[in-house]
Every structure is written in structure tokens, then in C-alpha cells.
């Protein structure tokens, strides 16, 4: 049975804004599930409903077997959450923040003390544990929040942009821990993120959410294979029509003298491709990333506003940067 199950989950703010629109989603126990979407897509609203922080307008959902509407306190007992906006107390020390958290989750004194030390160690804040959070950097606060969310060993951990504002080193550190938690403790995790790389690395499954609806769902590999497997960028004069006739080419786009080709199995087909192309100034090969997938599904509106090209052309124009 799914540990999280949403059936027609809907949230309407006021009467106009439909933040989450009849969401159906099952998340299995032990999964690391990623919710990807642009700002305002409904990611945080979805998480807030699942955490019982806001009421759903209609529809139902269960978390760890408990109904979010009828059994909120049982849901709360089973979950941990790392908020997107800071929710640790500035005027308390790191240790005090964790201690109060332990009390709120009914942890006994000795257990609390042990877990606090473990968590501080985990996020590398042992040295600064007794400083006021006011004196922490943004990254340190974030780490403290993550420590707090994990402290009571929840069955499901919600992470709303868990590594936002972290330096690369801390980010890698948090990623490692998320993987360990998932592997060794079977903790189910639901995370929202802007970092495609993060979703790709961590998540078993990803749901792309736009305007309150899930528009694509699958493993990162499945999602990427819908676009193609690899992308080749060619600088120089290239005849696009000729390329489109090749069997292994899925899509071709041209902008500013750069031709971007999506194809299957670049290692095997690159030679054939280059033979067809002839002489070019430079060649660059990379794998399709979730970023390409993301642009493919969510970039439609942006492209309409700009009045030209789709996701693929935008990838081509942006020089293939992995934003």
C-alpha cells in the first residue's frame, strides 16, 4: 500500500486561485519522490496540505495510513518537515531549537540528548551548537532545520527545497545523508526542488507539476528518454533537413549558428551523424538532463510569450547551459 496517497486533492485560495487541481498521486514506502515545478506551481501548497498545515478544499489524502483531514494528529506524529522558509528560532541556540523540537515530539530526556548530539554531528554543527542561531549563516540555519526535521525519526520526511542556499559542499553532504536515510532506514522522502541535478541524483521518481497538476510522472530515466538520450551541439554551417532524415535523430533545432540535435545513443551514432554533417567548427556531446525534460513540459508558456521556438530551441539558444 502506498504510504502517501492523494485522490483528487484540491486547494483553492479565495475563489479564484486554484493552487492544486485534483491531484492524484501515490508514493510508495521507501521512495524518494521529487516534486518539480516552477514557482507557484503548487508544490509547497501540496506539501502543506499533506502536513496538515492547511486544509484541502476538496479531495482526500492519506499519509502513513492516516487521513489528513480526519486524523491530523496521527499524521503529524508520522512526519517530519523541513520548511522552505526559515522556521528555526533566531534567539535560541541550535541545541535549544532541537531540544524544544524533541519535547514537542514527546521524546524523553536521555533520548533527546542522544539524538541532538547525533543530529548536530550529522549536519556538522557540533562546534556551533551553543551559539544563537542569529549568528549562523544561511547555510548553517538550513542544516539545523534539516537536523530538526530528522530528529524524531519520522516515517515520512517532507523537504521543501532542502538545499536552497547551501554551498556545494553542504549540499553534497545533505545528499549523502538523504541517500543513507533512504537506504538504511527506509525513510520515505518527498522533496521539492529547483535543482534538476538534485532530483536526478536523489529521486526514485519525479513528478513535474505545473499549475496545480502533475503533467509528467516517472523515474528520471523514463522522463529523459522521452526527449531522447543525448544532445549534440554543432557550431558551424549545418543542413538541418539532412539531419532530420537520419533514423536516430529525434529533433533538430538551429539558433545563432548553433545546431542542437537530440538523438538516441550518441556513442554509437555520433560518427554517422558527423559524416552527414561534414566539416563543423566544434562539436559538443552531452546527455539529456532533467532540465531538458523540465523545459519540455513547463516551457510552453514562456515560449508562447516569447513568440518563438519551443523548449528545444531555448536549450539551443541558451548554449545548453545546465541552469
Amino acid at each position: 500500500m502506498a504510504i502517501i496517497s492523494c485522490k483528487g486533492l484540491t486547494k483553492r485560495y479565495d475563489t479564484k486561485v486554484l493552487a492544486v487541481d485534483r491531484l492524484n498521486l501515490d508514493i510508495e514506502e521507501g521512495e524518494v519522490f521529487g516534486l518539480l515545478g516552477p514557482n507557484g506551481a503548487g508544490k509547497t501548497t501540496t506539501i502543506s496540505m499533506l502536513c496538515t498545515l492547511i486544509h484541502a478544499t476538496s479531495g482526500a489524502a492519506s499519509v502513513a495510513g492516516f487521513d489528513i483531514g480526519r486524523q491530523p494528529s496521527l499524521v503529524r506524529k508520522s512526519i517530519g518537515i523541513v520548511f522552505q522558509e526559515p522556521s528555526v528560532d533566531d534567539l535560541l541556540t541550535g541545541r535549544e531549537n532541537l531540544d524544544l523540537h524533541g519535547m514537542l515530539y514527546h521524546m524523553a530526556g536521555p533520548e533527546r540528548k542522544r539524538r541532538i548530539d547525533e543530529m548536530l554531528e550529522l549536519v556538522g554543527l557540533t562546534d556551533r551548537a551553543d551559539d544563537l542561531v542569529r549568528e549562523y549563516s544561511g547555510g548553517m540555519r538550513r542544516r539545523l532545520e534539516i537536523a530538526r526535521g530528522l530528529m524524531h525519526s519520522p516515517k515520512v520526511l517532507f523537504l521543501d527545497e532542502p538545499t536552497l542556499g547551501l554551498d556545494p559542499q553542504s549540499r553534497t553532504h545533505i545528499w549523502d545523508y538523504i541517500r543513507t536515510l533512504s537506504k538504511e532506514h527506509g525513510t520515505t522522502m518527498v522533496l521539492t526542488t529547483h535543482y534538476m541535478e538534485e532530483a536526478d541524483l536523489l529521486c526514485n521518481r519525479v513528478g513535474i507539476i505545473s499549475q496545480g497538476k502533475i503533467i509528467a510522472l516517472g523515474t528520471p530515466r523514463e522522463l529523459k528518454s522521452k526527449i531522447g538520450e543525448d544532445i549534440v551541439r554543432l557550431k558551424g554551417a549545418v543542413d538541418a533537413q539532412k539531419l532530420k532524415r537520419l533514423k536516430f535523430v529525434k529533433k533538430v533545432a538551429q539558433a545563432d549558428g548553433v545546431t542542437t540535435v537530440a538523438l538516441v545513443d550518441a556513442p554509437a551514432n555520433l560518427q554517422a551523424l558527423l559524416k552527414e554533417v561534414g566539416k563543423v567548427d566544434s562539436v559538443e556531446v552531452r546527455e539529456v538532463t532533467l532540465n531538458d525534460v523540465f523545459l519540455h513540459y513547463t516551457g510552453k508558456e514562456i515560449h508562447q510569450e516569447e513568440g518563438e521556438g519551443g523548449w528545444f530551441e531555448r536549450v539551443a539558444r541558451s548554449g545548453g547551459n545546465r541552469a
Binding site: L53, I79, S87, V88, L104, H106
Partner: protein, 254 residues
């Protein structure tokens, strides 16, 4: 008792934060002291010019100023959840497996403690400069202040929980806090007010707190002491019921 744990955690947090916000603690003393020593001696002096009566007026308003200072501290404390709801600890508490009534009671005890710290200091200052206070009077005063601040903190929390914008704050100041103070008889006997204001004074729970404090500190009273206490108990009870309901409906601010 898991719920007691929760109440204790919320209370402890409030107290720690209050004690660390030194500006807030210090700032909250300035206005009561101005009222007592500048307003009190100035008005008292002009009313009783040529006599030694200015001290008597200071003593008369002392229970009123004490009431005012704890009233403001506790109401501000309660209203603070308008901001708190947007960030900070409240979100963390709302998502914890602690009942909303415990959160409310923890918050109220935090506000009562904050206000009492201030009340005790003003009481000590008063005992030195204005009026003699015996240990028994001291304890009696504290007990009345607990009842009063339980009510006023709850009221602040109720308003804060139902108010959705920070702009409403000024309205609350002008339409709730100042009237509660002026109609309470803190600065003058309620009997001096025109008759048409009398119902407002009588409907104001703070009136009974001022009267109870005057009974304890000065031995002057308008109503029987049991009535004062009865009204304060009833007001606190009603406010906690409404408060618990308001907290039950509290959702994270968008």
C-alpha cells in the same frame, strides 16, 4: 503526560525568547514609569496644589499603571502571532503532534510569565517609591495579575489568530487596548465618568482587575473583592474557550 510536555516546550521557548530580547524588556518599562512619575506627580501636583496630595494621586494610579503595563505587554505578546504565523517557531509547533489547545495554553502561560516579570519589577519599584507593600499584599497582587494577564494574553492571541494582516494591528491598539485602559478606572475613579460611559466600564473586565489591585494594595474598592475575582475568572475561562477554538482553526499563512 505528552500534552504537558508540549505546553512546557512552548512556554519555555516564549520565556527564553523574551529574556533574550533585552530591548523589548527594557523598552516596556519606560512608558509605565513615565506615567507613574511624570504624569502621576504632575497631575497629582496640580490637582492637590499646596498640599502633600500629589503622593496620594500617584498611589491611586499605581494599581492602574501596573494594570496598564501588563495589559500592554500581554496583548502585544498575543498579537505577535500575526508575524509569528508567517515565519518562525509557530509553523514548527503547528506541525508537531501537540494538540492546538496545548499550544494555546503554552502560549498563554508564556505571555503570563512575560507580563509577570514586568509586573513584579514595577511592583518592586512602586514599593520603594510610592506605596508600602507587605509580603501578603505582594502575593495577592501577583495572583490578581495572573488572572488579568491570562485574560489579556488570551484576548491578544484570539485577535492575532483571527487577524490576517499586520495592518489590523493599529486598529486593535486604538479600538481595544486604549479603551480597555481608559475605561478601567486606572487613572481616575470610574464614578467620575459621565453616566453614559458607565456600562462600558462595567463591561470591561480590566475595570475589575484595577479594582481588585486597589483593594489589595490600597484597601480602596468599588466592588466586592469576590465580584472582581469572579469576573476575571469568568473572562479568562471564556477567553480560553474562544482561544482554543481559534487555534483549532489556525492555518499556516499563505
Amino acid at each position: 503526560m505528552p500534552e504537558l510536555h508540549g505546553i512546557y516546550a512552548v512556554w519555555k521557548r516564549e520565556l527564553l525568547v523574551y529574556l533574550r530580547e533585552k530591548e523589548r524588556v527594557v523598552g516596556s518599562f519606560v512608558s509605565p514609569l513615565l506615567w507613574l512619575f511624570v504624569f502621576g506627580s504632575g497631575i497629582g501636583g496640580s490637582m492637590y496644589a499646596g498640599t502633600s496630595g500629589s503622593g496620594a494621586y500617584q498611589a491611586f494610579i499605581f494599581p492602574g499603571i501596573l494594570t496598564m503595563s501588563v495589559l500592554f505587554v500581554s496583548m502585544f505578546y498575543g498579537l505577535y502571532i500575526i508575524w509569528d504565523r508567517k515565519l518562525d517557531f509557530l509553523k514548527e509547533v503547528l506541525v508537531a503532534p501537540v494538540s492546538r489547545s496545548s499550544i494555546f495554553l503554552g502560549k498563554v502561560s508564556g505571555g503570563v510569565s512575560d507580563a509577570l516579570i514586568q509586573g513584579v519589577i514595577i511592583l518592586v519599584i512602586g514599593a520603594f517609591f510610592i506605596v508600602h507593600i507587605s509580603p501578603a499584599q505582594f502575593i495577592g497582587t501577583i495572583l490578581v495579575l495572573v488572572l488579568l494577564t491570562f485574560f489579556t494574553t488570551s484576548l491578544g492571541l484570539i485577535i492575532g489568530a483571527n487577524l490576517h494582516s499586520q495592518e489590523g494591528f493599529a486598529l486593535v491598539m486604538n479600538f481595544v487596548m486604549w479603551p480597555m485602559f481608559f475605561f478601567s478606572g486606572a487613572l481616575f475613579p470610574v464614578s467620575q465618568l459621565p453616566a453614559y460611559f458607565e456600562p462600558i466600564s462595567l463591561a470591561n473586565p480590566v475595570t475589575y482587575a484595577v479594582d481588585a489591585l486597589r483593594t489589595v494594595i490600597l484597601g480602596q474598592s468599588l466592588f466586592p473583592f469576590y465580584l472582581d475575582i469572579g469576573v476575571l475568572l469568568a473572562a479568562s475561562a471564556i477567553a480560553s474557550v474562544i482561544g482554543i477554538i481559534s487555534f483549532g482553526n489556525l492555518q499556516q499563512a499563505k
